[in-house]
């Protein structure tokens, strides 16, 4: 186990950011803390880094109690959402900062920085200043800077949050490949479930300061432990008082023993998939997701009468408390 978090509670005034959270992160893994904003995921990451102190609980890093260690002594690399580049230093000095603090010989620093710049594909930009780099380049520089001191664990706080959608997708694919190369235990915080699903070995879903579920991305999607996880890690629709994934709804033209009658309200083409908005006989609306081929075969048009049924049972019966759509 690389990182152990035991029964951590953290309050900011009256607000409970983390409520008795425990988590064990295996060595060499890429773990994602996934949750909406204000869920406490960044606070947990900052507590692991030592940038925030828990009110109760303890943190271990490779079996060493780190709870009272300052961030300087934890052997962590931290990457911030807004890069936190040292504005007054060149890219080379940024990346070499930690080594310079450790008083390594100049020649060694130079070689190591060149190596890292090659790793993050910033060769040739060593003498630039951060303001002369794009957002994606700055974040790769920040990553190289964090890796320079050979941290035991790498912590990334919404690292792609400030980048535009295209760069974000590129970078997360790249990050996953980088992790497979360097194998340093990594924890990444994000609110983007797609990002979590794509890069993570394991995902911890956090909501209201608690871990709702911790497991492999696929397990979270297929077997959510709570209604929150179900709705947060993928699309959800409500059918017969149950939450199901829209692609688990089957749309047919002829009735079948278990199907229910519905009217097509809208057909939205999203490339490979087609989203079909349906109104059930009772007036409730339901979302179905079908492939383009299926939509063409059924010749779906608004106003058309169809029959729907669920493909599988594994769904979630929501708590009675939250208000559903009016029926």
């Amino acid at each position: 186990m690389a990182i152990g978090v035991r029964q951590i509670t953290k309050r900011f005034g009256d607000f409970v950011a983390l409520d008795d959270v425990s988590l064990a992160i295996p060595s060499g893994s890429l773990t994602v803390l996934l949750g909406p904003s204000g869920s406490g995921k960044s606070t947990l990451l900052r507590i692991i880094a030592g940038l925030e102190a828990p009110d109760v609980g303890e943190v271990t890093i490779f079996e060493t109690d780190a709870t009272s260690l300052p961030p300087q002594k934890r052997g962590v690399g931290f990457v911030f959402q807004h890069y936190a580049a040292f504005k007054r230093m060149t890219v080379r000095d940024n990346v070499g900062f930690g080594l310079k603090i450790r008083k390594r010989p100049k020649k060694e620093i130079r070689e190591r920085v060149d190596e890292l710049l090659a790793l993050v594909q910033l060769q040739g930009l060593a003498e630039r200043y951060p303001s002369q780099l794009s957002g994606g380049q700055r974040q790769r520089m920040a990553l190289a800077r964090a890796l320079a001191v050979e941290p035991q664990v790498l912590l990334l706080d919404e690292p792609f949050g400030a980048l535009d959608a295209r760069v974000r997708k590129e970078l997360r694919t790249w990050l996953r490949r980088l992790h497979d190369e360097v194998h340093v235990t990594t924890v990444l915080v994000t609110h983007d479930q797609e990002e979590a699903m794509e890069v993570a070995d394991r995902v911890a879903v956090i909501n209201n300061g608690r871990i709702e579920q911790y497991g492999k991305p696929r397990d979270l999607y297929e077997h959510p432990a709570s209604e929150f996880v179900m709705t947060f890690v993928g699309p959800v629709t409500r059918f017969r008082e149950r939450h199901i994934r829209p692609h688990d709804l089957e749309v047919q033209l002829a009735p079948n023993g278990t199907s229910e009658e519905a009217t097509v309200e809208r057909v939205v083409h999203l490339g490979f998939e087609v989203r079909v908005e349906l109104a059930l006989a009772g007036g409730e609306s339901v979302l179905a997701q079908v492939t383009r081929e299926e939509a063409e075969r059924l010749e779906l048009l608004p106003g058309q009468r169809v029959f729907v049924r669920t493909r599988r049972k594994a769904v979630f019966v929501p708590d009675p408390a939250p208000a559903g759509p009016p029926s």
Binding site: V76, A84, F86, K87
Partner: protein, 297 residues
């Protein structure tokens, strides 16, 4: 109706081009005239209020001739006055600079009860008349003052001596560095510093390698303002100095006395020297301010 199309854009492609062109040029001419008038007004204002007096001092200082100028600068009183001004300025700038950074860091970074009060108190020296500042110092350190017995027992004279003059000058210069550095710190945030911590830098290393380079122009700007204020201060220093000629007389106080004693030439010469130094400072201030603003972006 869709978005309104500018009238001229509609007319220009089809109709007679002469009318809109002439109308536009008439409008442009009026705008140019207004702008020229404003520029002239601004120039005249600065000329009359700033440049004219400066020119006057320069004229009278130089008119007295090289002989008088040389004589003035060989007077022990004058030399001592400049020395005193320099000492007071340097001490005040170093003290307000050092403590200014500390207070600015606390105001920008920490939350504590009474923070608003501290923030308001920082500006107090700007609001209180310097003469009153001097009186407060006399009340504390002068004969019968709260602290007078203590320092008298040590054999240290505060009032009517250099310590009180430095003290009031520091008091008056407190706000400048704080007011310049605190907003820069707030704007910067803490992430760069936290990044430095995670890379192994101690708090002191972080301050000197990361924070200080980020605030340096704001700091220099604040220090330049402090210096200018320290050089020019008359009221507070006058009250606590006791006006002991050749002992507690700063350059500014010397000018004050020179005119009272009808030594106008010497007064002008010292005044011009002070003004020249202040102008150099001003140039520095403008440069630092511009760099500080640029650095913030």
């Amino acid at each position: 109706m869709s978005a309104p199309v500018p009238e001229q854009a509609q007319v220009a492609p089809t109709g007679n081009r002469a009318t809109p062109t002439r109308r536009r040029s008439a409008h442009a001419r009026r705008a140019r005239l207004v702008r020229a008038l404003l520029v002239a007004l601004a120039l005249a204002y600065v000329l009359v209020l700033v440049l004219l007096p400066l020119a006057g001092i320069t004229y009278y200082a130089l008119k007295s001739g090289l002989g008088t100028i040389g004589e003035t600068f060989s007077q022990p009183d004058v030399l001592h006055a400049f020395y005193l001004t320099a000492v007071i300025m340097v001490v005040a700038v170093v003290v307000t600079g050092t403590f200014g950074i500390i207070v600015a860091l606390v105001l920008a970074r920490d939350r504590f009860p009474g923070k608003l009060l501290v923030s308001a108190l920082v500006d107090l020296p700007l609001a209180v008349s310097p003469v009153i500042v001097g009186l407060m110092a006399v009340l504390l350190f002068g004969r019968g003052g709260w602290f007078e017995p203590f320092f008298a027992a040590q054999g240290i004279q505060i009032i009517f001596a250099l310590p009180s003059m430095i003290l009031v000058t520091i008091f008056i210069s407190i706000p400048f560095v704080i007011r310049e550095v605190a907003p820069v710190l707030e704007e910067l945030g803490m992430e760069e510093e936290q990044a430095a911590w995670t890379l192994g830098a101690s708090k002191l290393q972080t301050f000197f390698r990361v924070t200080l380079p980020n605030i340096r122009w704001g700091l220099l700007y604040g220090m330049a303002l402090s210096s200018a204020r320290a050089i020019g201060e008359v009221g507070a220093v006058l009250v606590v100095s006791g006006l002991l000629q050749g002992r507690t007389e700063t350059a500014t106080l010397y000018v004050f006395r020179a005119f009272e004693q009808y030594q106008d030439d010497q007064g002008y010469i010292v005044a011009l020297t002070l003004a020249a130094f202040s102008i150099l400072l001003l140039i520095g201030i403008e440069t630092f301010k511009r760099k500080s603003l640029k650095a913030a972006n």
